[in-house]
Symmetry: C2
Subunit: 641 residues, 2 copies
């Protein structure tokens, strides 16, 4: 009998000794970080006050109770009884019964009403039918990504259970190392922006944090081939942690499954879905541009299948000696500051991921309050000594001016925008301005992946700013459902209609004018002197967006008839730039994040910024707060303990 | 056909195009770093002026010419002709013909006379008999280590040729990496003395530098198990470089053969022999103390079999992108400052190993002159701010006083000494003092491994200080052959005789009174008030030597009758300490080594010293010479390029 089996036997005996004699335990298993307890008496478990809570705190594990298959009531019968327990206003849209685990997945428009106060309605359901309920939200805007992910996971249910059991046994294995240390190896995004990837390594455990690409570079990928990472075999990685879905953090994650990785990815649920959306698009773009992508869509599915979603604040065992906790990072939907507690009080490392320190319309500001933290690995995108940004209030005022100006002369406002994050922030700004009468009512067209990304945002309102979340919960106030918003889903024909029509606002990808429907919009509107092309996001060196900002007026566009020939378009639109809508903290925000951090870390590694930014931030933090700061190079290893 | 074979074919064609038509080339092969050219015309090759030298510089390779087996003359006949070419004074003691390679190994008392001016005699031999001569020195003092190593290598000749061919093909493989970087990972001896071990890593190559133990620690071995070292499989190491034979650098080298390493060890020839002597003794001590040694003597033989000896100053390809050059380190016999030239001018790293900066009687001071060097990995044993040592001149004066005092009152001088290095230095000091009349003539007894270590020193006079080497070349002046020196090879009986006799000097191991014959000498002489126990080397914390220095007079000694019981001996001898004979540079020497280094390195990693020493030296070098200095921890990785 393996050591894990022995441990499970002991756990079972301990549970039995803690619960009343008339409640049976038929089996205990690990599923990922959770302990699953099977019983012939699920109703009694559910009925017995806070029995599960007491067990969880006694065993210091997350516990799920599941009915033994023998005692499951008939699904058809159970369905009626479940629906009678749940208030009708919850808006149940689907019930899905899984005989193998005794779970029933309830999809509802208002999950909160299915859960009830402190989970009372859920317990009532179990007491009524014996099945274990699980609740998911019905996307308020239909999202193909969300439904594809959910359907895929349903279809792969059996393999997923195997994965979870295997991962669970790995997490709860006996510690083998008799030594103790904590190290970080930098595989990318040091003295550069892009290809974020780190290895967090203890004597016992090796964790890969992020695995992104470097946009605009020619094949500069993270140094995965070194033995500290995957060079010694992908099976040496115990876990992967993904801070957020942006491609500079996620693009090459599916690749590691090609290299034979078979373990878990920890991230938030929205990060999982957005990663699916963005990496599939990444493959798409590569194919369209005639490049061979480094992996296939089947590896994206592997990544999704191996994802174990965690919520902000959940302290989760991910290895015998490592606990992970995610906290809101304020950067994009599901973005997480990732806190690692190592050993039994041995050491604490915090990876900021990308952060926004102040509240925005979309998100609360990044969390920087932890039980303990000795070392912080810190993004430095705007860490340069002059990287202070306009206040968002001023930026919004300026945007309102631009929109009014275009409207007044009968023109349109064309905004190139990133699908995830910045587009939703713009939607909120525009919706508010229109509602309060600062700009006239007019259609706002959303083109490219923006609509889909917005749908994913509305599926996870818990991850949005408090006020916004509350508005979405009250369907009639959901700003993303405002009438002005129109999804461009009619292709060129619809674009032509819009172009022929009156004043309007158009948000379209790609955000740096490097391809996508924005190119088509430039063909339609480029000649209109009354319209305004408005940049609201960072335009990287070498992109067409940056060139236009710099005054280029002769723009190469692909010929409309698909011949592959390139025409030259003379841009007559006004060009405006409205700064201040970044998803990244500016220099002040980065300093504030560290300054107000509780507790103040001893060491800071400044990463995810160009050479000047990381050096500036590193020396500023050293001088102002007397911490040990570093501006690492890629491929270095730091030992902390 | 493999890429290496293609390359060899091309090389053969190139050689053929460079040499006269009447000289044939039958085969070209790699043997380790050398290119071996087989020919049916060895005599013509040898006769043709500097043909080989021109080829070597054209091909930028070390070249050895060997006769095709078909054209070899009969060994018995050849023997006579060889002996007629070599001057009789050369003192040939053995001729060994190897039909497989056409080599004849000539062992002679005066190898220089077999070689002749610029190799003229060697060429004459080849022209006369066709065989390729190789010369080794007949040890002036018989050394079982040297003869065991030589006999073993003779016996394993065939496997060794296979190893060399394999290594040669590895070295000359095509570079695979399209990236370029240089990194060092610290596996031991950081902020501590002991368990020296580093990995020097390029995108193409991984080299292990040293692999020692930590004396006096309980099982603190280098971190070999991490993936940057052997964790990813021993086959990922391309080469091992050993700076010198001390156990804190060599003790665990044989272990890596147990882990499956099958590649080359580069070190000097005396380091190879001393490593054999010291690691076998290391196993012996472990066995005697009832500990299970981490490997067997068969792994020591593997290590010797895989050793490719290099001479000081030889620039040697050890990987497609790495050239290694050893330089005298002045620390012990064969100790080497190891210079790595990486890529085609990409980067240069120098490992000091252990060094002595000033000349001693035994060795010239450490070399610190290089074509280029950007990073220096520097020993710091005496790097502390107060680690200045007495001048050796003063120390010698004090030693003379002590010896005279003991002699005057009819006593003996008992000196615990390390077998390798310090003992030979003491022998030279004593011989000189006696010869010049500063102390009276009296016997000097050498006990333990000292005699054997001395014999190895005399086998390699090229590695000793210029003046000393010259004296050894003139046999009648070889100080180690002086009449006073007596090898204690008669065990307890002889020791009893010595103890019963008159004034004398005894040098005995172990150097820190932790075991060995010194324990027996303490039993014999411990009660003699007229005798003086004289410490001349560092006594580590926790050793009996240190305790005696601190005034302990009650000494536990094992009962003479072998019962295993421990008696207590009351020490009545005088106890003296004479500092200044260290094999390590003191603080001043370390600073001078860096200060006068040509060129001055940009970065210095201070290692091989306790926490205080490395910090002191690191900050002193930073402040005085404005270099970037580091005091690494174990298990860190530094990237330089
Ligand atoms: Zn991001
Ligand atoms: Zn990023
Ligand atoms: Zn040494
Ligand atoms: Zn030493
Ligand atoms: Zn040493």
């Amino acid at each position: 009998m393996s050591q894990v089996d022995t441990q499970l036997e002991e756990t079972k005996a301990q549970i039995e000794s803690e619960i009343p004699d008339d409640i049976s335990v038929t089996d205990v298993k690990y599923e990922g970080p959770e302990l699953v307890v099977y019983t012939r008496h699920p109703k009694e478990f559910a009925g017995n006050g806070d029995l599960v809570r007491r067990l969880a705190s006694k065993l210091r594990k997350r516990i799920t109770i599941r009915p033994h298959p023998d005692v499951l009531s008939d699904p058809t019968e159970a369905e009626g009884r479940i629906l009678s327990v749940i208030p009708e206003e919850a808006g149940v849209t689907d019930l899905d019964f899984h005989q193998d685990t005794g779970e029933v997945v309830i999809e509802a428009e208002k999950p909160g009403m299915v859960i009830g106060r402190h989970g009372s309605t859920l317990r009532e359901i179990t007491q009524e039918v014996g099945w274990t309920p699980e609740v998911v939200r019905t996307p308020p805007i239909e999202s193909s990504t969300v439904s594809n992910v959910r359907n895929f996971l349903k279809q792969e249910r059996e393999e997923r259970r195997d994965i979870l059991e295997r991962v669970g046994r790995q997490i709860h294995r006996e510690e083998m190392a008799d030594d103790q240390w904590v190290r970080i190896t930098t595989l990318g995004c040091c003295r550069e922006v892009g290809r974020a990837a780190f290895v967090l390594n203890t004597a016992e455990t090796r964790i890969l944090v992020d695995c992104g690409d470097k946009p605009g570079s020619d094949g500069e990928v993270p140094y995965l081939q070194v033995p500290e990472a995957l060079g010694a075999g992908a099976q040496n990685i115990d876990a992967v942690v993904l801070t957020h879905a942006h491609l500079d953090h996620s693009a090459l994650l599916p690749l590691i499954f090609k290299y034979g990785y078979d373990g878990p990815i920890y991230c938030t649920e929205p990060t999982r879905d957005l990663m699916g959306l963005l990496t599939l698009d990444y493959l798409d773009v590569a194919n369209k541009e005639g490049r061979t992508p480094p992996y296939e869509s089947s590896q994206v599915r592997e990544a999704i299948k191996h994802t174990i979603p965690l919520e902000y604040g959940d302290v989760t065992d991910i290895a015998p000696d490592v606990k992970l906790t995610f906290h809101n990072a304020g950067h994009i939907l599901g973005s997480a500051v990732s806190h690692f507690h190592i050993g039994d009080g041995l050491y604490n490392v915090c990876f900021s991921g990308d952060i926004h320190y102040d509240d925005t319309r979309l998100f609360n500001g990044a969390v920087n309050d932890f039980p303990r933290v000795e070392t912080l690995v810190m993004e430095s995108t705007y860490g340069g000594r002059n990287d202070y940004q306009t206040d968002q209030e001023d930026s919004e005022r300026r945007l309102v001016e631009v929109i009014n100006e275009a409207h007044d002369r009968g023109g349109k406002v064309l905004i190139p925008a990133f699908a995830v994050g910045r587009s939703q922030e713009m939607m909120l700004v525009i919706e508010e301005a229109m509602r309060s009468g600062k700009i006239p009512e007019m259609p706002v067209h959303l083109d490219g992946m923006i609509w889909e990304a917005t749908a994913i945002h509305t599926t996870y309102p818990e991850y949005l700013r408090d006020e916004l979340r509350d508005r979405i919960f009250h369907e009639d106030e959901n700003p993303f459902l405002a009438d002005q918003f129109n999804h461009i889903d009619g292709g060129e024909e619809e674009r032509q209609d819009v172009a022929d029509g009156g004043p309007c606002i158009i948000l379209s990808t790609s955000g740096m004018v490097t391809g996508g429907p924005i190119m088509s919009w430039l063909r339609h509107l480029g000649g209109e002197e009354e319209s305004i092309l408005t940049f609201v996001g960072y335009q990287a060196q070498g992109t067409l967006g940056r060139r236009i900002q710099n005054g280029w007026e002769e723009i190469p566009v692909q010929n409309r008839n698909g011949s592959g020939r390139t025409d030259t378009l003379t841009l007559k639109m006004d060009v405006e730039t409205v700064d201040g809508f970044s998803g990244h903290a500016d220099r002040q925000g980065l300093e504030n994040f560290v300054k107000t951090m509780n507790p103040r870390p001893e060491k800071v590694l400044c990463v995810h910024g160009d050479e000047r930014s990381v050096q500036d931030l590193s020396s500023a933090l050293y001088h102002d707060y007397n911490m040990r700061t570093f501006a690492p190079k890629n491929l270095e290893t730091f030992r902390f303990k």
